[in-house]
Amino acid sequence: MKRRFFGKGLLLVLVSLLMVGVLAGTSLADEKVIKIGTLFPLTGSCALAGQRCRAAVDTAVEVVNNAHPELQVPLAAQEGIMGGYKIVLIHADHQGKPDVAKSEAERLFDQEKVWAVIGSYNSAATKPASFVAELKKQIFMCGCSSSGALTERNFKYFFRMAPTDKTESLEFVEFIEWINETKNADIKTVGLIYENTEFGKHAAEEGRKAAEAAGFKVVADVAYNPGATNLNSEVQTLKAADPGAVFGACLGGDYTLWVRTMKQMDWLPKVSLNYCTGYQDPIIAGQLGEDANYFMGGTGYAPEFAGLMPAVAAVEEIYKSKTDPSVPFDSDSIQEAVALFILAQAIDKAGSLDPTVVAETLYANEWESPLSMGGKVAFAPGGQNIKAMSMLTQLQGGEYKRVYPADLADTEPVVPMVPWSKR
């Protein structure tokens, strides 16, 4: 008996040694190749978002590398960039952990010899990973991490596509002022509900600042631990304070639980405005069905925006073939595709693979970006995309309707939200 166990143990050691050996031998040598790393949470609690982001970057590479004359996107018609260079992606998983993100970023640069990294969804992971890139004077493209602090570090090689939670908070407050004026919404108070993580806390802080600056009173500040088994006390606290507007930063499963719990407790604010969260995930909206209606949020892209962003639909078909045919782009993942498109354009334009030159080119120009709302991307010192826009949408009849700013809107917002009893 004992011998058999021992044999198995030995086998395991051998297998692990073998794996080390295999790894040491892998190296890719090709002349006209630019290696770019992606670093997203492919496992763990943010795996869903991470896997979509990775697929979005894959999509952009597919478009850049091959001739797609049918697409109205820069670089689509030609094959590769800079006279035939192809982009090769190396994917990595940071599991949502900052320490893993840091060491994986180092591995991507040092071991895999990638030329730039795109990532990393979680702001807490983007921070150390982009710090590594900055030290190595290599470019780090960030699609959708929303913490404002990222672009306040004066990094020279860091670029972020998405609007920050600060921009969104200001937009929320503007919207409330607008409906107070035009629709007699009579909203004076604001409540915050957010997951107690780097992302949620930061969003809530910005939300509080923006609301208080405009003279609104923050009457409820509800932080909860993500992955909750119930959100009863959280919703009960909101209900007791009864704010006119709620700013929400609840991701994924917590978002559905939050909506369902509010329904159980038969309470709704007049308006519910959500940061880039569970709200803008079309799958979650679909699963909530009727219950998801009349919630609002900042949205960078939704399939209903086709009129506004005509070039996206064709690219989206490629994206769907890489994930799940029923999953369109969402506001987060599309930004990661933008990140790759902009980087590829900058390399192409700079005509050089010197990161410093490309970074300077990135700063010096305004970029065509049909996948961004507004169609343009340009960077301020620190790397924030100053052309980043998002608009407010409201789910009506299961569709993301554009409601604010008024000049881009296609539908009137339903304010206040229709109470549960009347649905």
Binding site: K2, F5, F6, K8, G9, L10, L12, V13, S16, M19, V20, V22, L23, A24, T38, L42, T43, A47, G50, Q51, R54, I90, H91, A92, D93, Q95, K97, P98, D99, V100, K102, S103, E104, E106, R107, D110, Q111, A124, K127, P128, F131, L135, A149, R153, N196, T197, E198, G200, K201, H202, A223, N225
Partner: protein
């Protein structure tokens, strides 16, 4: 005479190992790779963490899931010194380690009257409580965490950017300290007391061992060293936040590595780390990008297989080989 020879053999192994480790980053070739060095640093760091845990969990038999709290306090010590006060990390690390030892004694004193699983659950309740409190304690950064900014690389600030060699020797120093202390404890009266407590508290008491005092001492030493490891971790990752350092996940690593290597053995923690860490890092590097969690599936499977088929850990496997060789030698005669 025979016993003496055995001791010398042990010394030879220990100093030989240190020698090999000391020259490892200087050998040209595959060991120069930055990722390889990262793996070696991680092995040393996790070996130290596991050894710190081993003092209490292995030698003394008190299974604690609470070590990430002490680890976290150490990490916050260094992080606060650097980020909040703009100092060098050393005084922060020492202060963190002392605080961790004090906290450990304060919370274990009442907890030690709990037996077995009640103690284990109590320690992990403490981890959850501390994690949640640190998440809302904004003086230490709360959920936003503490982020390092650029400072002069070198031993003073204990950060290196270009090469990882500095970190490697830092980890090696930590390794010498932690393993050295345990070697000393093993040979000393305290080691004997610890084992006596593990074998049975009542028996130990009857031999005149003050079991509470012994356990508290083990706890303090163990927490102090876990906190030093935490400080190193913060310096290495340029960031501290509660889920990184003060979580059940982190606590499990202390326990897992020790048990995988061999509970209550001197080289067990090192062997456990040497198996688990490369497996974790290389499988993630190789398979993690596929996104199916394949690396973690393999990892989980491996833990099950090792535990089920060799519950004494890798040291058990090695003992198995040794006794087998001995037997065949004797058979040969």
């Amino acid at each position: 005479m025979k016993a003496r020879g055995k001791t010398e053999g042990k010394d030879l192994l220990w100093f030989g190992l240190l020698g090999v480790l000391a020259v490892m980053p200087l050998i040209p070739g595959p060991l120069q790779g930055s990722f390889t060095q990262h793996v070696m640093i991680q092995i040393l760091l996790y070996a130290c963490m596991a050894q710190a845990w081993n003092i209490l969990g292995g030698y003394c038999g008190q299974v604690s899931f609470g070590h990430s709290v002490f680890f976290g306090i150490g990490a916050y010590g260094a992080g606060m010194a650097v980020v909040k006060y703009g100092m060098i990390p050393w005084p922060g690390a020492i202060a963190g380690a002392l605080i961790a030892a004090a906290v450990a004694v304060a919370i274990s004193y009442p907890c030690f009257k709990l037996k077995g699983h009640y103690f284990a659950i109590a320690t992990f309740a403490i981890v959850e409580i501390c994690n949640r409190l640190f998440m809302v304690w904004y003086w230490v950064g709360g959920a936003l965490g503490l982020d390092y900014s650029f400072s002069e690389p070198g031993w003073t600030h204990f950060v290196w950017y270009e090469s990882k060699r500095g970190y490697f020797y830092g980890a090696l120093l930590l390794f010498i300290l932690v393993f050295g202390v345990v070697r000393w404890i093993e040979k000393n009266r305290l080691g004997f007391y610890l084992r006596a407590v593990r074998e049975g508290q009542e028996t130990a008491e009857s031999l005149g061992v003050n079991s509470t005092k012994v356990k508290l001492m083990a706890m303090a030493v163990s927490a102090f060293m876990a906190a030093l490891c935490g400080a190193f971790f913060a310096q290495y990752n340029y960031r501290v936040d509660p889920p990184m350092v003060m979580s059940l996940d982190m606590s499990m690593k202390f326990v897992l590595i020790t048990i995988l290597g061999g509970l209550g053995t001197f080289y067990g923690p090192l062997l456990g780390a040497a198996l688990l860490i490369p497996l974790q890092e290389y499988s993630r590097a190789l398979l993690g990008g596929m996104g199916g969690g394949v690396d973690l599936i393999i990892f989980g499977l491996l833990i099950i297989v090792v535990v089920v088929y060799q519950p004494k850990g890798i040291m058990g496997i090695i003992d198995g080989i040794a006794s087998k060789m001995k037997r065949s030698e004797e058979g040969g005669k």
